[in-house]
Each structure stands twice: as structure tokens, then as C-alpha cells.
């Protein structure tokens, strides 16, 4: 019985290792993030046209833009994926040449419990299971943008999901704001907006078709 078990183990692991050779070149979902230096003296203007953006505030003093969709072109396979270019002018950051050129992504994932370990975490990020989207992008959010949490933001995008930021202006088809500071003179435009657990200055305007609020704190400061 022990001999049979040993043979099964050796065969299993060998076949698995051999199969990896046929999985193709190592791919990555994310290209190198763009880093943009910003000044604290004026608002940061993010113009991301029709793309979906996740915005998270952080303690660092620069903006980092990471693609959440495949952008790989390693020369061995004809990966097209997400094409984009970031243009910057001081605190103005805009997305240019944004396009999606694929329709199906099949990814080989390693063992599920590996995501517990920092070193292997990236392997299972962003795409899970078989999912179908009828939109022009794989999921609603194509970019993760980290911004200094204290500099006010003016954001224009297709979809916005912001947390831990200071906000001055938002315009999107759908906006979700969480744990953020909505400052004096804030204006929002677009179809739907959800505001959760934020600090809202009373001098704010929500010019949206639909507004949903939960757990917010109103202030006059």
C-alpha cells in the first residue's frame, strides 16, 4: 500500500509539473504602475473619460496609477489587452488612448490557499471564476489610483469608487464614496451616487439623478 501511495504521489506531482510547461509564458495582470509627483498647493484633477476607477487615499505624496486589467505584451504571445496612456500636467492627470482589444481571458491559477501568503497574493487578484460582462471593459474598474489623502480631488470617469480621500468634484455614471472627506463647495454630477460613512460639508451639491446616503457625518467646518 505504501508503495502504491508513493507511486501515486510521484506520478501526480510529476504530471502536474509537466503540465506547467504547457501552460505557456508567465503572465501578469498588471503592468508597472505609473507614478506621478503632485503638488499640495492645488487640487488633483483626474480625467479618466469613460474608464472605471477605484481611488484610494494613502499617506504618500505622489499619485500611483495601476491597471486592473491585463496589459501584458511579453513578445511571445500577441497579448493586446488594455491599451492606455497617462498624460500629466502638474496636478492634472488624464487618460488618453484608452481601449480594450480582447474579449476572452482564460487564466491558469495556482492553488487557492496560496493567496494567504504575501509573496503569492497577486496570483489570484481581480479575476475570480467564470464571469461574463456585456460591457466594453472586463469588470467596471480598469484602474486603481492611489492618491495623497489630504489633497482635494476633482474626478471625471465612467465609474468611480473612492475611499479614504478628500473630494471636491466627481462626475461619473455611477459613483460610490466611502470613508472620505467631502469638503466645502463639493459638487457631484452623473446618474447614481452612493455616499457611505463620509464626513460631508453642509455646503455640498449632489446634482445626481439618484442619491443614497448611509452612516455619514454632516459638518459646517
Amino acid at each position: 500500500m505504501i508503495k502504491k501511495l508513493a507511486i501515486f504521489f510521484v506520478l501526480g506531482i510529476s504530471i502536474g509539473l509537466l503540465a506547467i510547461l504547457a501552460t505557456g509564458p508567465q503572465g501578469s495582470f498588471n503592468s508597472e504602475p505609473d507614478k506621478v509627483a503632485v503638488s499640495k498647493d492645488s487640487n488633483i484633477v483626474l480625467d479618466f473619460a469613460d474608464a472605471g476607477v477605484k481611488i484610494e487615499g494613502w499617506d504618500k505624496d505622489f499619485v500611483q496609477i495601476s491597471a486592473l486589467a491585463p496589459t501584458v505584451d511579453n513578445g511571445k504571445q500577441n497579448y493586446q489587452g488594455l491599451k492606455y496612456k497617462i498624460a500629466t500636467d502638474k496636478n492634472n492627470i488624464s487618460l488618453t488612448e484608452y481601449s480594450m482589444a480582447y474579449s476572452t481571458i482564460y487564466s491558469f491559477q495556482s492553488w487557492m490557499p496560496l493567496s494567504q501568503f504575501e509573496k503569492y497574493k497577486d496570483q489570484s487578484r481581480d479575476v475570480h471564476g467564470l464571469s461574463i460582462s456585456m460591457s466594453n471593459a472586463p469588470g467596471d474598474y480598469s484602474f486603481l489610483i492611489n492618491v495623497p489623502k489630504d489633497i482635494p480631488l476633482e474626478i471625471t470617469a465612467g465609474f468611480i469608487k473612492a475611499s479614504g480621500c478628500t473630494l471636491f468634484y466627481t462626475k461619473a455614471e455611477r459613483t460610490v464614496l466611502k470613508d472620505s472627506n467631502i469638503i466645502k463647495g463639493f459638487i457631484s454630477e452623473g446618474d447614481i451616487i452612493e455616499v457611505k460613512d463620509c464626513t460631508i460639508n453642509s455646503d455640498s451639491s449632489f446634482n445626481n439623478k439618484s442619491l443614497e446616503m448611509k452612516g455619514n457625518k454632516l459638518t459646517n467646518e
Binding site: I15, G16, G24, Q26, Y102, Y106, W111, Q123, S133, M134
Partner: protein, 246 residues
């Protein structure tokens, strides 16, 4: 006593007998797992034909689903194996409580090893079906996140997890089938006590002890095997009490 010939013979007979019982379970589960990538590929091909503008994302293949399926299957199997009727069928001469306890540990280790080895051996089915899809559709992108390193590390981690959950089911079953009412009441009580902040924090500490993110693989392995051994020692206490009745 431990190296007694009779003991060794009993242990071999016991483990062989139990493993033979598992053969059917493995065959059925592996057959289902082998069919999954094929069904997935057919689904993707059909979707691409009927909805050409759809964006299809497919991941968490054989290694992810296989691990999860084997974890659930073995946890249920070892829970059921501790029921009174199952135990009585196994306690025949010359099996005693020591053989039963050690035998169960060995069988569990063997089953966990068979599970991860079997799932690994099925990986080519997924690779082949994805390759066929790639050949059929020009716009399909294959993104590979499997490397030799993460495969081998994942193999070990998955083995540890399957052992841990199977041991937990075995321990739980051993107490549940002996004292159904007390165990159920205790479980409900423990679940409800999580609302008390101090006890809730204690539960979180136990959870973090094993499932802590960002831990090293070595430290994780030590913690998990400590927990596995504990989950095999606890049922042994129950088993000792049972022998008087048997």
C-alpha cells in the same frame, strides 16, 4: 507495544481496509473534477459563439476547484466515519483504540496526499482544454499564473489545509456522535458567545493564529501541524472512554 508485530499487522490491515473504502469516493470525485475543465471550455466556446461581444473571464481552475472539492469531500467523509455505526464496523479483532487512532491519522494523511496528487495529475486536462480553446479562438488570451515554485509550495499548503479541516471534522464528529445534545448545545452557545467582545476577540485570536495573512510558510506549517496533532489527541480521550462500553 508500539513496535509489536501484531500491532503493526493490525495497523496495516486497518489502514488498507479504510483506504480501500475510500477508493470509490476518490474515483467519483476525480471523474467529476476531470470533467469540469471540459464543461468550462464548452461553456466558453458556446458563449463566444452566441454572444461574440461578451467579455468572458475564466480562472480558478483545476488547482483551485480541486483543492476546495477535496477539502469538503474529506471533511464530510471523516465526520461521517466517526458515527457509531461506522466505528463499530471498524472495531473488529484485533483492532484496539490505539490502532484506530493512529490508523485514522495515517489514513487521513494518505487521503490528503492522494487528493493533492490526484488534483495535480488532472491539471493537464485543464491545460489541454484551454489550449484547444486558444487554437479555436484567436482573441482568447491565456494568462498563466502557475510556476514551478508556487505549484510546489501550494501543493504543501493545500495538503496542510486538507489535513487541518479533516482533523477538525474528525474531532468534531467523535464528540458529536457520542454526545449529540451536549455538543450541539455547546456549539450553539460558543457561536452565540462570539457577540461578547472579549470572547469574540479570543475567537479572532484563534482564527489569526492559523489564517494570519502575510505569515511565513514555515511558521504556518508549524502552527497547522500543532493544531492537527491537537485535533487527533482530543478525540483519543473520547475513544478511551468508548472502549469500556465496547
Amino acid at each position: 507495544m508500539l513496535f509489536n508485530e501484531n500491532y503493526k499487522r493490525s495497523l496495516t490491515a486497518f489502514t488498507t481496509d479504510i483506504l480501500r473504502g475510500f477508493r470509490k469516493v476518490f474515483m467519483v470525485v476525480f471523474a467529476i473534477l476531470a470533467a469540469l475543465p471540459v464543461v468550462n471550455a464548452i461553456a466558453i466556446a458556446s458563449l463566444k459563439k452566441w454572444q461574440p461581444q461578451a467579455i468572458i473571464l475564466s480562472s480558478n481552475g483545476m488547482l483551485g476547484i480541486g483543492f476546495f472539492t477535496m477539502l469538503i469531500t474529506l471533511s464530510i467523509s471523516f465526520f461521517v466515519s466517526t458515527s457509531n455505526s461506522e466505528i463499530l464496523t471498524q472495531f473488529v479483532w484485533p483492532i484496539n483504540r490505539k490502532v484506530y487512532a493512529v490508523g485514522n491519522f495515517l489514513v487521513m494523511s494518505a487521503c490528503a496526499l492522494i487528493s493533492v496528487s490526484g488534483v495535480s495529475a488532472l491539471l493537464p486536462v485543464e491545460v489541454l482544454s484551454a489550449r484547444i480553446l486558444k487554437a479555436a479562438f484567436d482573441d482568447l488570451i491565456l494568462v498563466n499564473n502557475i510556476t514551478f515554485e508556487n505549484f510546489l509550495v501550494g501543493f504543501w499548503i493545500s495538503f496542510c489545509y486538507i489535513m487541518l479541516f479533516s482533523s477538525f471534522s474528525y474531532c468534531l464528529g467523535m464528540y458529536f456522535f457520542r454526545h449529540k445534545i451536549i455538543t450541539t448545545v455547546l456549539l450553539i452557545l460558543l457561536a452565540n458567545l462570539s457577540a461578547v467582545p472579549a470572547i469574540g476577540s479570543f475567537y479572532n485570536a484563534i482564527y489569526a493564529f492559523i489564517f494570519e495573512e502575510g505569515t511565513s510558510i514555515m511558521l504556518f506549517s508549524v502552527k497547522v501541524w500543532f493544531a492537527i496533532l491537537l485535533l487527533h489527541i482530543l478525540p483519543y480521550i473520547q475513544l478511551r472512554r468508548m472502549e469500556v462500553r465496547l
